[in-house]
Structures are given as C-alpha cells and as structure tokens.
C-alpha cells in the first residue's frame, strides 16, 4: 500500500523533512510531435524517488521508459504534469542529472576514451584537469577498459562503448544518475561486475540512481524500488518497494522475479505503434 495517498499533502509534509523526495514525477504525460502526428509515450505517470534510492523503471519495449528518463533529464517537457528534482522543477538538462543513454553513439567520436570520461568533469568545471584525469582513470579501471584508455570510440565494440558511457556517468558523481539500459550490451560476467561496481559505489557514496532495465533479475539485484509500467502508452502498473530486503535469499528472489513477471505481462502485450496518418 502506498504510504502517501494524498500526494499534495504529502509533499508539503515531507518538504522540510530530511528525506524529502529527490525526484518528484507528478501526473506526467509525455508526447512526441512528429511532422504530422502526436504520439503519447507515457500517460499520467506519478512516482517519487528519494535520496539514495536505487530506482528501476521496468516495462515492455516501447512503453516510454527512455522517454520518462529523458523527461527527468530535462530533454523534453511534459505535456501535462510536473517533474521536480531537489524541489526545483526541471526545466533543462543539467549535470546534476547525469544520463547514460541507450544509444551506442553517445560517446564523442572526436575524443579518446579518457577524454570522453574527463569531458563532463572539465566542461562543468567540477574538477581541474589533473584531478579530472585521475578520477577518469579510476572509473575507466572500474569498467575494465584500462587498456583502451587512449582509443577513439569508433574502434571499440558495442559493449565497450557502453562501459565508457557508464564510467563517464559515474565519474561525475551526480545527484541523480539516470541510466537507460546501460548493461544491455554486456556479457554475463562483465554485467555482473558492473552491477557489483554500481552497488559498491552506492555503498560508498549513497548516490541516487534511476535505472531502466529489461532484466527483472537485474532489477531485483540492484534496486530497492521498482516501478512497473504498462505497455504503450506507459502507465504505472505497480510499484515494488523494499526490494533490497530480500537481496541475500535466492529462492525468495526467484519468487519475486516470477511475481513481477506475472504482474508485468498478465495481459497480453499490447502492440506499441502509431495510428496511421
């Protein structure tokens, strides 16, 4: 049962509390305008992410997960509803919300791996050059790309590119880390290593992360809260809380995985797509 049944009252009440919602997504509808069509990606989605949450968005392909993440990132404005981060409404992208995109072409092709990771640190003047390089090398080591540190992106494999993007996002140590299927292109071991790195990092710095993934097992492993979305247009189906309370127990995790799976795919999958023009 949701603790908060009246969101407005709750926000006011929590506003001065220490654990105020860091990200507050309220009745958000997101639409794309194409040259002659209006596509609704998500419809009336509300949720809050608290400080140090590891929040996972889970839903079928095309349900609007990437779109939601982009809206939190400030790349698109909700048609209806509001999004606030740290109490301030999101109006534009910013380095407080670092995004790891789903696409492979998110690296700057004109910079080496090292400089790609250093770039946001320098561009936002967060660190001087020397420290930035140090920090960048540290995270490149973490994603196991030490030897590719001076390579240009076009010489990397798909999974390597994504790992650079992950390193870049993590190195910024943002208020909120937004990750769109960052581990999808990774093999089992690398994936587990990355997950472990993420969790270990979280243990150290308790940052907040919003994470899109397709793997229910991955969601259970890394999250403490999971938001389940219905197919096109994406609507909130349910939220799973205290996911981390079962981390250790394998059987329980299996049961949870099955339960989420059933919940998510109870109805036959709706075909996402567009009305013909």
């Amino acid at each position: 049962m949701l603790a908060i049944s009246d969101p407005a009252a709750a926000r006011t009440a929590q506003g001065d509390a220490a654990n105020a919602a860091l990200v507050d997504v309220r009745n958000v509808t997101l639409q794309y305008k194409t040259s002659s069509l209006l596509v609704t990606a998500t419809d009336d989605v509300s949720f809050t992410v608290d400080q140090s949450d590891r929040f996972v968005l889970l839903g079928p392909s095309g349900c609007g997960k990437s779109t939601l993440l982009k809206a939190i990132g400030g790349y698109m404005k909700p048609t209806v509803g509001s999004i606030a981060v740290n109490g301030r409404p999101v109006s534009r992208p910013g380095a407080d919300r670092m995004m790891v995109f789903q696409e492979f072409d998110q690296l700057l092709p004109w910079k080496t791996v090292l400089h790609n990771v250093m770039f946001p640190l320098l561009a936002t003047r967060r660190l001087p050059r020397k420290e930035a390089e140090e920090r960048a090398r540290h995270y490149i080591d973490k994603v196991k790309l030490t030897r590719a540190v001076d390579s240009y992106p076009h010489t990397l494999s798909g999974g390597m590119k994504q790992r650079v993007a992950i390193a870049r996002g993590m190195a910024m140590q943002p208020d909120v880390l937004l990750m769109d299927e960052p581990f999808a292109a990774l093999d089992a071991l690398t994936r587990r290593q990355m997950q472990d790195e993420l969790l270990q990092l979280w243990d150290e710095t308790r940052f907040t992360v919003i994470f899109v993934t397709h793997s229910i097992a991955e969601a259970i492993k890394i999250s403490n809260r999971i938001l389940l979305l219905s197919p096109h247009p994406g609507r909130v189906k349910a939220e799973v809380r205290n996911v981390d309370s079962i981390k250790a127990d394998h059987a329980e995790a299996g049961a949870l995985e099955k339960r989420i799976h059933d919940l998510l795919f109870s109805e036959t999958i709706e075909e996402p797509g567009h009305v013909q023009r």
Binding site: M1, L2, D43, V240, R241, N242, S245
Partner: protein
C-alpha cells in the same frame, strides 16, 4: 526491515485522470502552418525592405543605390512591358540546363569517387584545381569548343555548379554511417543501385546543401558570365539586362533585375527546397 511491498497503481493516489482523449492525434492545421515559418520569414523580409527604403532615402544617391519604391516601380514597369519576363525566361532556361547537367556530372564524379580510390583522388584533385578558377579562364576553351551560343554559357555554369555539388555530395557520402553501408552491402547492392538506394538518401542533408549552394553559384556565375560572353543582341538574359541598364545608368532597373534574382532565389528556396526538405530529411528525422 519490512519485506517486499507491492503497491498497485489503482490503489495508489494521484488517480488516472483520463485527460488524454486520444493516445495519438493529428496536429492542428495552424500549428503546422506556424512550423513552416512563412510568417516569421515574411517579417524578416519586411524588416529588410524597410531598412533598404530608409537607408536609400537617407543616402539620397539614386544613381548608386535607389530606393525600394523606385525599384519596385521599375520592376513593375519592366515586367509590364514584357522585358523582365522575357529576360528571366532566357536566363532560367540556361540556368536550369547548366544546373541539371552540372549536377548530373557531379553525380557521375562522386559515384566514381565513392567506388574507386583513384576516383576519390581524381575528384579531390580536380576540385582543388578547378574550383578556385574564375570563369574567364575557361572562356578561350569554351569559345573554341562551343562557339558563342548558349552552349558556352552552359559550359561555364557547369564549371560553377559541378565542384560545389560534387564536394558536398562526396562529403555526404563519406559521412554515411558504417552500419548503413554494411546494410546496403548486405543486400548485394553495389555500384549505382548502392549509391541511389543507400548513399543518396543517407547523405541527403549534405547533398541538399550542395544543391542549394550550386544553385546560388549558378546564378552568380550566369549573371556574371552573360557580361563576359557574347550575347547576341536582344536575346540576353537577366544578367545582360542588369549589365545593359547599368551601362545606361538606369539604376532602378538594375536593382529591379537584382530584385528579380532575389525573388526567384526566395521562391526556389522556400518553395522548392523547403518542400523537398520537409518531405525528406525533416520527415526522416535527419534534421535536428
């Protein structure tokens, strides 16, 4: 700590308003119109026109820079007496043939360049050599090869269009993503079908820019070339019209000619090129 908790959406607060009547709907006609930007562009043109009028009035040197109203008056007069339309027609005919041939040659050259290494070198070398050459340098050869007719003008036009279009097209081709190239190769496309079915659409933004620049330079060259080349009396085009009136110091008529060039430029840009753009790269999401 408590164990895993499920909160179903319909139990949760913030009820689904159902305020979205349709998941997808057509955009309104007005919204589409505003996007075309005709309104904003008209405004810019009006501002420029006003600036022209004011500056020319202030300058008060009609033999150097006439007012817009004088120019419009001349434009009207020379349109009504049939001179301008006739000159325009002559020019457009030559312009279009030179442009089309130049573009086709550019296509041939870039197809060769993209398919063979020596073709690339050839294109690069030729472009570097001939692109900077002024048209007059081609004059003697053009006169020998094509005589004094429009053929020589077309030749010079080709020279002006070819390199710009080829350069842009070639850059466009070489910037096509590796993945798309591989997709094309996968279907066994090679040579011309590969170029027309993969490279040209994929490089369309660059090609369109090349075509725009080529078009503009064809104009510039033609206007200039008509002065240099033999025009048989009375048959000249717009360039000749401008030159003739300049020689006769009928400056408002000169500017009427230039205004015609501008107007045609605006029409071509905003009707032809914009339409192409809207139906291609804009629709394909290739324009940011």
């Amino acid at each position: 700590m408590s164990s895993v908790e499920f909160v179903m959406a319909d139990e949760a607060g913030g009820g689904r308003g159902g305020h979205i009547s349709q998941v997808e709907r057509k955009l309104g006609a007005w919204e589409l119109l505003w996007r075309v930007g005709a309104v904003r562009k008209t405004l810019i043109i009006l501002v420029l026109a006003g600036a022209w009028q004011l500056y020319a009035t202030y300058l008060n040197n009609p033999l150097l820079f006439p007012t817009l109203t004088d120019t419009l008056e001349a434009l009207y007069r020379r349109t009504m007496d049939g001179t301008l339309p006739a000159r325009m027609w002559t020019t457009l005919q030559i312009l279009v043939s030179g442009y089309v041939i130049g573009t086709l040659l550019a296509a041939v050259l870039t197809v060769l360049a993209i398919n063979t290494r020596i073709g690339t070198d050839f294109l690069e070398t030729m472009t570097a050599m001939f692109n900077p050459l002024p048209a007059i340098s081609l004059l003697p050869l053009a006169l020998i090869w094509f005589g004094l007719g429009p053929a020589s003008l077309v030749f010079v036009l080709i020279h002006s269009v070819l390199w710009a279009v080829a350069l842009n097209t070639h850059t466009g081709f070489t910037s096509v993503s590796q993945t798309l190239r591989m997709v094309g190769a996968n279907y066994g496309l090679r040579g011309l079908p590969y170029v027309t079915k993969i490279l040209i659409p994929a490089a369309f933004p660059s090609i369109l820019t090349g075509l725009k620049i080529g078009w503009a330079f064809a104009w510039r060259t033609l206007i200039a070339a008509e002065l240099v080349f033999g025009v048989s009396s009375g048959q000249g085009g717009l360039g000749w019209f401008i030159f003739e009136n300049r020689n006769l110091l009928r400056i408002p008529d000169v500017f009427a000619g230039l205004l015609t060039v501008i107007i045609i430029g605006l029409i071509v840009e905003n009707v032809i090129f914009q339409t192409i753009e809207r139906n291609t790269i804009a629709r394909w999401g290739m324009k940011g």
